[in-house]
Assembly symmetry: C2
Homo-oligomer: 361 residues x 2
DNA sequence: CTTAGCACTCAGCATATGAGAGTGCTAACG
DNA sequence: CGTTAGCACTCTCATATGCTGAGTGCTAAG
């Protein structure tokens, strides 16, 4: 538990133990270690070092006289200081890019569709559970509202948001409203709200729409009253995309039914994912959260590698979830690259004029 | 395997075996049976009968000298001839109704949202996996198309279909199109296509839109060329809603990892669900498919209780999936009732004028 | 037709046993 | 002093063994 920095040997051993365990999922002993990686040291020496690492809280033994396995802290150390991100092969990149970009031909794929494809690729490639959140439009700037009459008192509200994001909601009124009036109301809303971030609108429509003389007061009231829902992110708590449940369930760490069921429950309820991914979308770049670092007990055996993607002010996030024993070095690269491509893809599909140059990091 | 009809005693015994097995998930023996249900027969007699049932292919022994369990055929017999559908309690009905109907207040919940709520209730109530398919708009009659310019060459296509179903797609053109022209094009499309079923439109837009003089030819071409996607059901292969994976994974029949993983894979790929539920939506009323009756090996340990829901010509389906050992008598009622309520809810939210009377079956 | 009795089968459980992997410790070594 | 060989010890895992209980099929008697 003392956090004196590690010696070079300790760093090496820790790194090897982690790698070996990630590979085999079986506790690694001193003898095995020297044999697998041809070390110029005797098992006894390794044992001593391992003992030190155990005292530092980086390794544990599942039971007396078994090999060691990394603790969350051990993985943390490995991730932060020891591992070298493994660059992606040309083929892997292509796989991601093809899946994300897809081909349309006249039809514009919306964010949901892009993300759906993305998680599939991400899940298959990582052999873990891939997750993504649809863009949070909160910080996006509102561009335009359009009101389309659908007959029978129903009105389609079409919101255009920065970078071509779109949101449609159907409202219902008891009485039909003439097209003229609809148009006027829309114009009014546009005049007063255009250019503001969605979030600000939510907070201040009431004031901004207080004294109005034109437009239909009924519709206006309806919109103002439902502003929380209308000027929000996507529908309900939806907007989560998954892929790869079988991958993760097949992992040996979920042989325990108990764990498995509770994990699936957590996934289905979506709260946890929303909290973890949603929270992270503030920060930039790839974030790794390991095992017990999670506040939620249900996923204390899991790690998450996630990254936000951004299109203008709008952002969402994506990542993979798996057992703590995962190939961090590879996953960091995969997730990072995928997030970039998604940003790019959504940006492009949004407005073609500004061609963002592809940066190959 | 001879299908001479069963004697009264055989029917009773089969029924009791099925019920007992459904309850316990442990093979039921002759002695247990007489004890549990106070039968006026000796175990030996039961044994003889059971033997007959085994020869008829309705029961099997997992191994010599274990009790019997029902085969798919046994369940089939039970479901078709022996069981009495268990009526729902007032409370259960209320639970379903509340979840499905929900409350809106100005905002119209679309089919996706209604079904999402529905499967949650259905999954929780059945303690199994609930599944639903969004409505297939194929047979729905097309009412109106509306083209809304989004700027930057993008056009929002709004399709109104019978009973208030809605479908929106974004198209993209290289050049901006004047509003005037958009309106003309929409009018043209409405004149020629309104009142036709979506399916017919898909098959015949090319002919119907051959000789036109007004409207923008570019947009028209785009729409005609993409008619397969535009005048179709919902987006991609989406439109499946789930709930209750933990329920089903906790079932003892999925203790086997192998099975469990393959089941989850099948669910995720959606094909099987689409085939089973989609296929069934033709027929009316509740359909039960049991174990090996399914063409797909992945779900040969599962049964599905499903029912279509209908709103005018438009229909979709919903149901529950679980191990063959499920409470058919209860589930039939649940699924049936849920389907009715969903039909009702979607119908109402579609057009309020025609109040369908609630029928309490 | 029904039932008592009996020999037989087999999963499940507990117990014992041995092998293998791994450890910590101590003492010797360069 | 860091490193290493040796050793006693521990603990899991796999295998073998025996026992029990639930259940069966068959036969003969009621």
């Amino acid at each position: 538990m003392t956090d004196r920095s590690l010696t070079e040997r300790e760093r090496t051993i820790l790194s090897l133990v982690v790698q070996s365990y990630i590979h085999d999922c079986s506790p690694v002993g001193s003898r095995t270690l020297v044999r697998r990686f041809v070390l110029d040291l005797s098992p006894a020496t390794i044992r001593n070092t391992m003992n030190d690492l155990e005292e530092a809280g980086l390794l544990v033994q599942p039971h007396t006289s078994a090999g060691r396995i990394p603790t969350s802290l051990g993985y943390r150390m490995y991730v932060d200081e020891l591992m070298a991100p493994r660059p992606l092969s040309r083929k892997e990149r292509a796989a991601i890019r093809d899946a994300v970009v897809g081909d349309q031909g006249g039809l514009v794929r919306d964010a949901a569709s892009v993300l759906d494809q993305t998680v599939r690729a991400l899940g298959d490639l990582s052999r873990l559970l891939a997750v993504s959140l649809e863009p949070r439009l909160d910080l996006g700037t509102f561009e335009k509202i359009e009101l389309v009459s659908l007959g029978a008192g129903k009105i389609l509200v079409v919101l255009t948001i920065e970078k071509g994001f779109l949101r449609t909601i159907v409202l219902e009124l008891e009485v039909a409203v003439p097209a003229e009036s609809l148009h006027e109301t829309a114009t009014l809303l546009n005049e007063r709200l255009s250019g503001l971030p969605m979030k600000i609108i939510r907070e201040s429509v009431h004031e901004r729409m207080r004294d109005v003389s034109i437009g239909d007061p009924k519709i206006l009231k309806l919109i103002v009253n439902n502003s929380e829902d209308i000027f929000s992110t996507s529908n309900e708590d939806e907007g989560i995309h998954y892929w790869g449940t079988p991958n993760i369930l097949a992992q040996p760490e979920f042989a325990d039914r108990e764990r498995m069921v509770s994990l699936m429950g957590a996934l289905e309820k979506k709260e946890i994912i929303l909290r973890v991914l949603g929270g992270q979308s503030q920060q930039d770049g790839v974030t790794i959260t390991i095992g017990e670092e999670h506040p939620d007990g249900e996923i204390e055996f899991c790690s998450i590698v996630a990254s936000p993607y951004r299109v203008g002010e709008v952002s969402g996030s994506l990542g993979v979830l798996g057992p703590t024993r995962m190939e961090y070095s590879k996953l960091v690269s995969i997730v990072d690259y995928t997030a970039r491509i998604v940003s790019e893809a959504l940006g492009e599909s949004a407005d073609d004029e500004e061609d963002q140059p592809e940066d190959d990091a």
